[in-house]
Symmetry: D2
Subunit: 335 residues, 4 copies
Amino acid sequence: MTGQKKLQGIFTPNMVPLDEKGSIDEPALRAYVDWLIQKGVHGLYPNGSTGEFTRFTPEERRRIIEIIMDQNADRVPVLAGAAEANVRETIAACEYYHGLGVRAVAIVSPYYYRLSPDNVYAYFREIGRNTPVDVTLYNIPMFASPIDVPTIQRLSEECERIVAIKDSSGDVGQMMRMIEAIRPNRPDFSFMTGWDAVLMPMLMIGADGGTNVTSGVAPELTRKLYEAVNGGDVDEARRLQYVVRQIFDRLLFGADFPEACRMAIGLRGLKMGPTRQPLSEDHKKKLEELGPQLGSLFAEAGIECSGGMSETLSPKEIGRVVASVLETFQAQGRF
Amino acid sequence: MTGQKKLQGIFTPNMVPLDEKGSIDEPALRAYVDWLIQKGVHGLYPNGSTGEFTRFTPEERRRIIEIIMDQNADRVPVLAGAAEANVRETIAACEYYHGLGVRAVAIVSPYYYRLSPDNVYAYFREIGRNTPVDVTLYNIPMFASPIDVPTIQRLSEECERIVAIKDSSGDVGQMMRMIEAIRPNRPDFSFMTGWDAVLMPMLMIGADGGTNVTSGVAPELTRKLYEAVNGGDVDEARRLQYVVRQIFDRLLFGADFPEACRMAIGLRGLKMGPTRQPLSEDHKKKLEELGPQLGSLFAEAGIECSGGMSETLSPKEIGRVVASVLETFQAQGRF
Amino acid sequence: MTGQKKLQGIFTPNMVPLDEKGSIDEPALRAYVDWLIQKGVHGLYPNGSTGEFTRFTPEERRRIIEIIMDQNADRVPVLAGAAEANVRETIAACEYYHGLGVRAVAIVSPYYYRLSPDNVYAYFREIGRNTPVDVTLYNIPMFASPIDVPTIQRLSEECERIVAIKDSSGDVGQMMRMIEAIRPNRPDFSFMTGWDAVLMPMLMIGADGGTNVTSGVAPELTRKLYEAVNGGDVDEARRLQYVVRQIFDRLLFGADFPEACRMAIGLRGLKMGPTRQPLSEDHKKKLEELGPQLGSLFAEAGIECSGGMSETLSPKEIGRVVASVLETFQAQGRF
Amino acid sequence: MTGQKKLQGIFTPNMVPLDEKGSIDEPALRAYVDWLIQKGVHGLYPNGSTGEFTRFTPEERRRIIEIIMDQNADRVPVLAGAAEANVRETIAACEYYHGLGVRAVAIVSPYYYRLSPDNVYAYFREIGRNTPVDVTLYNIPMFASPIDVPTIQRLSEECERIVAIKDSSGDVGQMMRMIEAIRPNRPDFSFMTGWDAVLMPMLMIGADGGTNVTSGVAPELTRKLYEAVNGGDVDEARRLQYVVRQIFDRLLFGADFPEACRMAIGLRGLKMGPTRQPLSEDHKKKLEELGPQLGSLFAEAGIECSGGMSETLSPKEIGRVVASVLETFQAQGRF
């Protein structure tokens, strides 16, 4: 218990627009932050997996948080991804982001090497004891060393600065196991899901919110779903969950993650620029085909595309937007 | 559409009691059937994974269905596991069980060999074209070749005798993908979950029911959960789901599946007898420790143990029941 | 130590030819046995994974061994797959095959359910204590519960009737771990590999032989490879290993296992008949393309195809053979 | 073909000693380089997985190569790990290391995100087209996106600057697939294995050498094994391979990788200092138990420990060395 308001609601794991040279596009990032807040996201979550934290340098990661904190100007709480090369650098990032006023940091479990649970524990304990700012554990077993339930429980009991878990396993049963193990002793501890395909079921069995990639693309939808669950409107929540799942599956599996998100944000009329990951011709074609699919899903869901109302956006216009988005992708070369 | 009532509700994947020689204990099986129906299960599902179909001979599998159909006497619909050594034998089993009056059969995807999706399709198409009785596809990727969504969709469109999918993946998002792909064209097609840890979320996003191992041990609980969801009592459904999950986790992970189920049914006062799988000393000890844990969970949930009300069953009495259950396990030797 | 000669050399996991009704084709099976022995295999291994033991009934499995033992007439040692539905039935099969005079049985670890190592141990200990015939443990982790090194070691120390391990993991380091753990105490214990892609490296680090699917298709090659290693001709062994690997990869990955083997044996001029596993149109096409590839590999290796010398078999002739093989596959329908 | 000598022999993936503050211990690193060269390694491979490249900052990674190039003074070829946050940074590192005179760089496939094969190809093609220095592809599927055989083949045909693959899958069959696909068109292309458990089999089927963690701990052994294979002494090579495997298994699985290496190098009398990964109490205990095991293996193999001849190092002396190594580990705290 660190006295602050419990983390809840939908936090957007936001991407970082790049300019034609492949550098952080500050004006576009500021515009994206404004757009997200205006569309109703409860919080921002930069330097996460969606935010491609591994593809930026340590200096760039700090610069991203600086820009966002400045542009946000205290409108919504910010959860800053703070994982660095080692525990010393990570704690230094916690200190720096604390100085910038973030609500909390999120720290992914050590990746590349697969650590055993006891060393995952030792890693977060070291951070928990030395951080000046609240910490969210970030469990994403498909990319990093898994954080198992006994480890989360132990950390929640020993470190009051550790205040939340973000779980991207998508396993609803696992979420229940975590809540059961930790909530009785730590009612302030927050449970966030990163798996939008099951956002409604997660909220219905007791999760506090999510850090959902879909909310960076269609913040209106995830906000409405969250409110439908909280308002007890199960039928509406279910209806929205099916729409969210369709978009989410394309964002995750339509192309190598998170390339489809970049495309989809572009479809909403925002400037995202080229990617840092060289794309094969096959992948560019995949994205070309994905554009109209996402456009149709947006249209069905009544979401505006590219500055105009989606309902009135013709297939031809969607095609034009996709082409323009791809053009910036093509520009990547040796950015 | 084969004109019959859609499969829905909780079907119990029942175990088969054995006598001291390791043969089917017919009186005990009849008593177990009566007990389950009296406790309110919507249907029975013999010769499934819980029913250890692989550990019986082809003749024994037929005998099990005969006994159950006779004892059931049309009280509840029966879903009979019909997988045999090859497609010809499987179709023969479908014909035989049809003659006995089962509501439908359930056929697990080919196991041992891992088939590619197109051959899983070819296998079920062959069955779908030749079966006289409705067929439930059974997807259990941890034990058998996975049945993917395009395969289910294709089979549902080509074979009207294929009327349901039982999915034991536990993936709520996957259930949504299946419902989305198949329900529009086949409103009579039924979606059943075999993963009790998420029974409530599955029902809330649209599943029709489940074949749930927990219902063979605590049929009162799964029945209540099903009714709470259908009655719109979300809070009660959630409360029950947490209890079901605790029991389910022990049934699945407390010992090599399905040994803990045998123990747990014994705790309810029913005779199950020895197992056909030789157990190590470590495993016997695991089961010894599991007994009191399950006894406590039953007591908390207000479930009767061993003929008396659970609330009044003392730890000493639970110990005595466990010892007696284990004694029959010890008897296994070369049954 | 049971006094018998140590198992060594290349044992052929032979397939079972079927007639047009899908029943065991006894004359074709007898002809195949003769052909294999004449081509120089050291032993036969019916009712293995290649032999599709799971797709036959218990009665058929016994019939297969009867035919083979009769036809073999003591020419080569026979290793009979004896896994049945449960430990009692398995021991009964051991007794039956012992009466027929097999050299040893091979028993796959329990499959479908994934057992923990201590119950894998308990299963084989029960068999080891009650079998009248030597037992080979069969480890094939992609299909059945894994048998780990401590389990093999424990069984080798406690049960003298357990005389060999057949390992189909393909992990050369794992083979070394097994040899290191067991050979010092059991010099009579035999180590056989089922992974032809690395047969030469396995033999070079100390394995005693193999049960190799390639030997059922091209027995000349595996025999030569075995002799090259034993004769110290490393260069020739390496050359042959590259050829064997090319054939093996197609047998294993060219189509769902073991369909490509059936095709390949047909190419050698033997009658195999239809498969019991319904095949999709995609799969039939795959096999159609695979035929000429295998034909070319055989030709390059100087192996006769279809009664004529391979060097002189024209592409047109290969095409004709493939077409005829596929025709029998087409005949499968409801065999 | 870039005109340089083909990469072959045993390259040591060297660790980086740290001082008590957790910074690079330059004198100790220089001493370690001298020791390795003196013991006969064919080359050095800093900034690999063993070298914990992910736990250093970009500046530190450059500093490590500077120190090593300076100390090496052209005695052995150096293969420098050059993977950075993105393709632009990675190419910049290639340029920098080229300027320092490295023989080649090694670049691990993108990690954290799992890329599809076509984007793995796109990534390396971008590097291959822009690097001034020879590139070794680094495939380590347990930690990073796999590089499949068609991708390696395509890159080998399109980019002459890509001159080698380092494969840490340990799959001997896979090595044969690579050699078969690439060697005919690129005889200069080098195949290196990173899986010491099967170093001898890999060399016998045609690999050119290895980057072997064991060589950083016991360079005498891997050198002898390499020479035994090349000299045609199969029996000696096999004998050495069994010893190497025993050491390798402990280095890899005795503790979270690469902690046991640090310990083992300490046992050889070199100063390694604390680790950057916080260790649990359980893990410290594991290392404490591992020390004497490694000490015994070294003694059996006739390898000197800690300045004295191993044959004469008493258990008490090994205990003392382990204690002293662990003391520096304890010192880690917030280094």
